[in-house]
């Protein structure tokens, strides 16, 4: 027994003698295990723990408090033992007495205090009813000392309460709905019934007409052609399609009515029935029988609706599918054209073509036809602007941003539906990403993608037999340029005896080129497209050449014009200079001077430019300096501009 006793004490001391934030779980388990089976052990443990609480170190107290909490929540005896000295325990753990503050490491002391308060709150919530002391301590700390309790329990209770209220509210709403449903059920039923009846009538009318029409059986004639079951299936489908009543001028009205009724049935009645079924399933009412009967009725109605729908679709399949899948088909229209065309070119599927034959001529034609049909059927123009829009709509890679396509609004940054605890600080739930920023973020990068090019094999016949399988872009190094050839390797577009020449490996490609050119010029019928392309290239090249020539001519003329301009400018300058010099040199005899000047200018023209320039400048300067002293301003300005002029002259020696 003594050993045992020592054991608890040793365990507790070991557990509290650590720097961890938690008690070692293994030790804790051991303590609990030891204490569970003997009361004296527990008493000793309580004693030891209270002693440890008096230690002058917050860490020890903290760990001790954790152990105390563990035992406190589990053992009644321990509770009674601890509670006798609860005030002491509290003063040691909370440190509310001024003369007994918490001991040394202040960081741990604050943790200790927070933990103690939290524990006290927990204890009060759990055992407060049974222990006056706990209530007292809690009350004292809370109301007298005004300690701030974390209030975990109350918060949890509040949340619970809110949730309950919400549930009650939804229940209330459901009950209201149920009541209104109970009142409205008969009218709904009537409406649905009338719609169904009308649909039935319409169907009857159509069927009656159909019976009148003789159906031409197509079954037997080319049945053996279908090789695979798949094809047969398609065939059968097409036959069925054929069997169906097709709309014509006679029954358009009936079909319209039917379609309308169908739409009404699907959108309004089906929705309302589904909704009321869900309401009935969720609602909680004291009287279950009524609800069950209503539910049963509604399910019946729904089944009937489904039946009618099916019937509708069967009878007026075109209508049903058209109405239903119209959107989709429109949407995928462009995508569909590609494969069908490709299919027609590469592996033409006969049954499909047959089917098309049944309906209309070609695939593209079918679609067009269908569109026109639609237009006819619905008598609306919504299709044409739609297709127009579709044709000019940008093709975009799929992405989540498409969900917000065209929305020009701000986004909440921190409300993504995920409860993300931010570990880096507070979360601003009202943060907003402006619309411009969103647009910027959603800007899609487009990547250049090279068109996959099918490189054709050379297919030139080899000497050892077989065809050359080399794949080159344009020119095979052994067989020259790659040209379309038939199965034996003869070039297709050459009907002439050149077929003998072709296989020769050492043929000059250039010669070949010219040859081909000749050939293309010779015949156009063999491969029209290629011919055309070549012609186009030729044309383009010609045009380019032409343009180049023109450009050259333009350049020359431009140069010429420039030179002419320069010359003109020079002349103008010379004239000015001449004028100026004459006017300044002889200010008095103007009349004569003018004529003289003119003469001189004409005379000057004939002299060489450089000579004239030099001479003119010097004279001008000299005259200006000598004669026009009074006009000092002019002179200075001229002097100032002199430098500029000089550089100018150097740069443009032939222009003034």
């Amino acid at each position: 027994m003594e050993e045992e006793r020592g054991k608890v004490r040793a365990l507790i001391e070991m557990a509290t003698n650590s720097t961890e934030r938690e008690v070692d779980p293994r030790l804790l388990k051991a303590i609990k295990y030891v204490v569970r089976y003997s009361d004296p052990e527990l008493r000793l443990a309580a004693q030891t723990l209270m002693d440890l609480m008096k230690r002058d170190h917050s860490q020890v107290r903290y760990l001790t408090l954790l152990i105390i909490d563990e035992l406190f929540m589990r053992s009644k005896l321990f509770r009674t033992l601890v509670i006798e000295n609860l005030d002491q325990l509290l003063s040691l753990s909370v440190g509310f007495r001024r003369n007994l503050p918490l001991p040394a490491p202040p960081a741990i002391a604050t943790i200790l205090r927070a933990k103690a308060i939290e524990f006290l709150e927990k204890w009060n919530a759990t055992f407060g009813v049974h222990y006056r002391q706990i209530r007292l301590g809690f009350d004292y700390l809370k109301n007298t000392l005004r300690f701030h309790f974390p209030n975990l329990q109350a918060n949890a209770a509040r949340i619970q309460q809110e949730r309950r209220e919400r549930e009650i509210k939804t229940k209330e709403i459901l009950r209201n709905k149920f009541e209104t449903l109970g009142q409205n059920l008969s009218t709904i039923k009537e409406e649905i019934q009338s719609t169904i009846d009308e649909i039935g009538e319409c169907l009857d009318i159509i069927r009656a007409k159909e019976e009148n029409m003789a159906l031409a059986p197509l079954d037997d004639d080319d049945f053996e052609e279908f090789r695979s079951s798949e094809l047969r299936q398609i065939r059968l489908d097409s036959l069925k399609e054929g069997e169906k009543v097709h709309e014509n001028n006679d029954n358009t009205v009936v079909f319209d009515a039917l379609r309308e009724l169908y739409k009404l049935l699907m959108t309004k009645h089906m929705g309302s029935v589904q909704e009321s079924i869900s309401v009935l399933i969720r609602v909680e009412v004291p009287d279950n029988r009524l609800r069950d009967s209503m539910l049963k009725e509604l399910i019946d109605i729904r089944n009937r609706l489904v039946l009618v729908k099916k019937k509708c679709e069967e009878s007026g399949c075109a209508l049903a599918t058209n109405v239903k899948e119209e959107e989709e088909e429109d949407f995928w229209e462009e995508g569909k054209i590609g494969p069908t065309e490709k299919g027609s070119s590469s592996t033409p599927s006969k049954p499909k073509q047959k089917l098309q034959n049944l309906a209309v001529a070609s695939t593209s034609g079918e679609i067009k036809n269908e569109q026109s049909d639609n237009n006819e059927l619905r008598k609306t123009d919504s299709n044409s602007p739609r297709s127009k829009l579709l044709s000019e709509a940008p093709v975009v890679e799929w992405g989540s941003f498409l969900g917000n396509w065209g929305l020009d609004r701000d986004f909440m940054a921190n409300q993504r539906g995920l409860e993300l605890e931010n570990h880096w600080g507070r979360v601003d739930y009202d943060a907003v990403i402006p619309a411009e920023k969103i647009a910027e973020l959603n800007l899609q990068a487009t990547f250049y993608k090279e068109e996959p090019v099918e490189i054709q094999p050379c297919r030139a016949p080899l000497r050892k037999g077989g065809l050359c399988q080399r794949r080159d872009l344009k020119v095979c190094p052994f067989h020259g340029p790659i040209i379309p050839r038939d199965d034996e390797g003869n070039p297709i577009n050459q009907k002439n005896p050149s077929s003998d020449e072709n296989p020769s490996s050492d043929e000059n490609p250039i010669q070949k080129n010219s040859l081909i050119d000749d050939e293309t010029s010779l015949d156009l019928g063999s491969d029209l497209s290629e011919q055309l392309a070549k012609q186009a290239i030729q044309n383009v090249r010609d045009r380019e050449k032409e343009e180049g020539r023109k450009r050259k001519i333009d350049k020359q003329s431009l140069n010429r014009a420039k030179l002419a301009k320069v010359r003109e400018h020079n002349e103008a300058v010379l004239r000015d200079a001449a004028l100026a010099s004459t006017s300044r040199s002889e200010a008095v005899g103007e009349d004569i001077d003018v004529t003289n000047g003119k003469k001189s200018s004409t005379r000057n023209k004939k002299k060489t430019l450089a000579f004239m320039l030099r001479k003119k400048v010097t004279t001008k300067d000299r005259l200006a300096q000598r004669l026009l002293n009074t006009r000092a301003r002019d002179a200075t300005t001229r002097q100032l501009t002199m430098g500029e002029e000089e550089t100018y002259r150097e740069n443009f020696p032939n222009q003034w």
Binding site: E84, N85, D87, L90, F96, V129, H130, Y131, R132, Q133, R135, L136, G137, D139, Y140, T144
Partner: protein, 461 residues
């Protein structure tokens, strides 16, 4: 328990002793009551507690936030925790908002001893007020010369309605409710009077304890005090057995009639004084005859060195006369509790194992009769000492701050304590009897249900 009931049934145990046994059992199992909460409306430390003496039902509390409240301790106002916890809310509150309320701390609140229609409060705002409980209006106002520390009314008075008030002032004043004036002014203390207590054996005798450490006995019919307790005058242990005393009483009956009806304990010394000069004390030691003679000589108008005797070093903070009126318990700021023999005026030298007592405030002691216990507020705990041995019988820990007052209700065997933490705690006997009863009932019920089920099964078969 059941054995005792059986004995009582058979007449082997007298009714009195039976009830005493039950009571003492209960008292010895006092603990913090979990099922009785008194919701205190006070926002300050509680200075005074008293259960009314007539019904034992209404608890009066006075607190230092100038509020007074009355609670019904028998009937709870509401319940909590599935009816487990009975909450006793105040039925009457008088606080500062009341237009006639006290301005400062209420230091003392006592019931009018005859009924619960009146109560008296004394406050630090120098007033003693008499209140009508039903209308919560002030009936009477006494202006005191200083802070009122304690008021007291005699529980056995039939010929007077005097409130003894101990104040900062050195004089004890007796306020007469009948006339609304001061009937007496008792001077003798040299400092403020912390505590006042009427004798439980004579309606004329008043005991006062002052800050000067003196405990004085006053006979209000005469001038001056007739006894000052001296801590150095002591006797060992209890008084000699009753037989001797009764013999003595018989010897000295000649003058006892003059002392009034039942002031035997107190009047005895006087008689002895007159009869035999130096045999003033019944103390077995009986030393210092000289001093006794001095005291005898000086008694009526008493002004002497003996007058300066002190009962405690420091102030006397609490006084309590035992229910039989033969002993006086006093607590002092020297952290001592002394038990005095009222008849001889001697310190009985009982060593109470107190740790510390509150020194700054008057404390209110309580006693229980049968297991003779005294309840003393010792700092944050209340301790129950055996009166004769001074041994700690129980310790009641529950308050988080100093306990100022306690009251033992001998009718319910419940202890009420009030402290500076604004709480009034109820300490009641653990529900031994009821628990036993419940257990018994449960077992019986189980037995019956078991059999019932058995019968049901049989019927089904």
């Amino acid at each position: 328990m059941w054995k005792q009931i059986g004995g009582r049934e058979a007449g082997q145990i007298r009714p009195n002793s039976f009830s005493n046994r039950v009571k003492s059992n209960r008292v010895s199992s006092l603990q913090l009551s979990n099922y009785k909460d008194i919701v205190s409306p006070h926002r300050g430390s509680i200075n005074s507690l008293q259960v009314d003496l007539t019904e034992g039902r209404y608890l009066l509390s006075g607190a230092s936030d100038a509020s007074v409240a009355v609670y019904d301790v028998q009937r709870a106002t509401d319940y909590e925790g599935d009816g487990l916890i009975a909450k006793h809310k105040s039925i009457v509150v008088v606080d500062k908002q009341h237009e006639q309320g006290h301005k400062y701390a209420v230091s003392s609140a006592i019931w009018y001893p005859i009924d619960t229609g009146l109560f008296i409060t004394g406050s630090y705002d120098h007033y003693v007020k008499v209140w009508d409980t039903n209308s919560t209006q002030v009936v009477m106002n006494f202006k005191m010369p200083g802070k009122v520390y304690r008021t007291a009314m005699s529980s056995l008075a039939t010929s007077h309605m005097l409130i003894a008030a101990g104040t900062e002032d050195v004089q004890v004043r007796l306020c007469d409710i009948a006339s609304g004036a001061f009937a007496h002014t008792l001077s003798g203390h040299r400092d403020g009077i912390m505590t006042v207590e009427w004798s439980t054996s004579s309606e004329w005798v008043l005991v006062t304890g002052g800050c000067d450490g003196a405990i004085r006995f006053w006979d209000i019919r005469r001038a001056g005090c007739f006894r000052v307790l001296d801590q150095s005058q002591s006797q060992l242990g209890r008084r000699p057995p009753l037989l001797e005393r009764s013999a003595l009483n018989k010897v000295s009956t000649s003058k006892s009639s003059s002392g009034g009806q039942n002031l035997s304990a107190k009047s005895r010394p006087q008689q002895r004084k007159s009869t035999n000069g130096n045999g003033i004390k019944q103390s077995p030691i009986g030393r210092i005859p000289a001093k006794a003679s001095v005291r005898q000589r000086l008694h009526p108008g008493m002004l002497s060195g003996q007058d300066r005797a002190t009962a405690h070093y420091g102030a006397v903070t609490g006084l309590k006369v035992t229910d039989d009126g033969m002993y006086l318990l006093s607590a002092g700021s020297d952290s001592r509790i002394r038990l005095w023999d009222v008849q001889s005026g001697c310190n009985t030298l009982v060593n109470f194992e107190t740790v510390r007592l509150q020194t700054s405030k008057a404390i209110q002691l309580a006693t229980s009769q049968d297991p003779a216990l005294v309840f003393v507020p010792c700092m944050t705990a209340v301790k129950a000492f055996d009166v004769w041995s001074g041994k700690t019988h129980m310790a009641f820990r529950g308050h988080y701050e100093y306990v100022n007052c306690c009251w033992f209700s001998s009718q319910d065997q419940e202890l009420y304590t009030g402290g500076s933490d604004r709480k009034i705690l109820v300490w009641s006997p653990s529900r031994l009897i009821s628990d036993e009863l419940v257990d018994h009932l449960v077992s019986v019920a189980f037995y019956f249900t078991f059999h019932f089920n058995f019968y049901l099964c049989a019927l089904k078969l």
